[in-house]
């Protein structure tokens, strides 16, 4: 993925657990975990807004861009 999610770092800085953040943001722990481990394909602005609100940070603190080809995990549903 060319966009890296730095949720781990911000969580440590704010001393918040993933579960607590999930509760506050209104996303399941499973989904937040997908986001954290870089498996997400897209993030809604509404989710990003809620994350920034609860973590009191900017989107740039959560997301980093790594130049280079984007790698997506292969879809296993191809015919």
């Amino acid at each position: 993925m060319a966009i890296r999610v730095q949720l781990d770092r911000v969580l440590v800085e704010r001393r918040m657990s993933l579960t607590e953040l999930a509760d506050r943001v209104g996303v399941t722990v499973a989904n937040l975990s997908i986001l954290k481990t870089g498996k997400a394909r897209a993030v809604r602005f509404s989710t990003l807004d809620a994350l920034c609100r609860e973590l009191e940070c900017q989107p740039g603190d959560l997301l980093a861009h790594e130049p280079g080809p984007a790698e997506f995990p292969e879809d296993d549903e191809a015919a």
Partner: protein
């Protein structure tokens, strides 16, 4: 802020959570979908009964005595008598059983597809496979019917029953094509579903 009911997308082949089901389930009574559901259920039960009875008859046909029974094949231009051999009986019963059994299989897949619709997850990847199976079964059953009628007309009742031309296959071919095209549409739907699962 929750835009979609919670669902664990990494376990996409497992059952959906109760919260999700209660949020999305609800095809109201009187809607087209509930009429379809009733039609599918009724048709399935009928076909299952018929196929069951036919299977029993087929089994019995292997053993019952067949002395001097004749079958009359008649058409507009007169008829002829055929001795009822065991092979003929088994062929006839077997063909009819396969016909109804084939449609029962199609209905079974169709009901499973419909179930994913009622729980709110119609683009489940399994539906692609089910649609292709339906297409294949339809092709085999209709092709088999055409071949069997050709065989009966040519060998068993020549001059009495006309063999069917290619034109009779036109509707079945189109039906099979439609089903396979829909399977591809559902494949794209499954891909979109996957994308939306991974949109946090």
């Amino acid at each position: 802020m929750r835009l979609l009911p919670p669902r664990n997308p990494l376990k996409r082949d497992e059952a959906l959570s109760p919260a999700f089901l209660s949020a999305v389930r609800g095809l109201g009574p009187g809607s087209v979908s509930s009429v379809l559901k009733v039609a599918l259920d009724v048709a399935y039960v009928l076909l299952a009964l018929i196929t069951g009875v036919l299977l029993l008859l087929l089994l019995a046909a292997i053993f019952i005595p067949l002395d001097n029974l004749n079958v009359t094949v008649s058409g507009d231009s007169g008829g002829r008598q055929l001795p009822l051999t065991r092979m003929l009986l088994l062929f006839g019963l077997g063909a009819i059983t396969a016909y109804f059994g084939g449609f029962m299989l199609i209905l079974r897949s169709l009901r499973r597809i419909f179930r994913t619709l009622t729980i709110g997850d119609p683009f489940h990847p399994d539906n692609v496979r089910r649609l292709r199976q339906i297409g294949l079964t339809l092709a085999v059953v209709t092709g088999g019917v055409w071949l069997a009628q050709g065989f009966v007309a040519a060998r068993l009742a020549p001059g009495v029953m006309e063999p069917q031309g290619i034109g009779e296959l036109l509707t079945p071919i189109f039906s099979v094509l439609i089903v396979f095209v829909l399977a591809e549409v559902f494949r794209e739907g499954a891909r979109l579903r996957r994308e939306s699962e991974l949109t946090i």
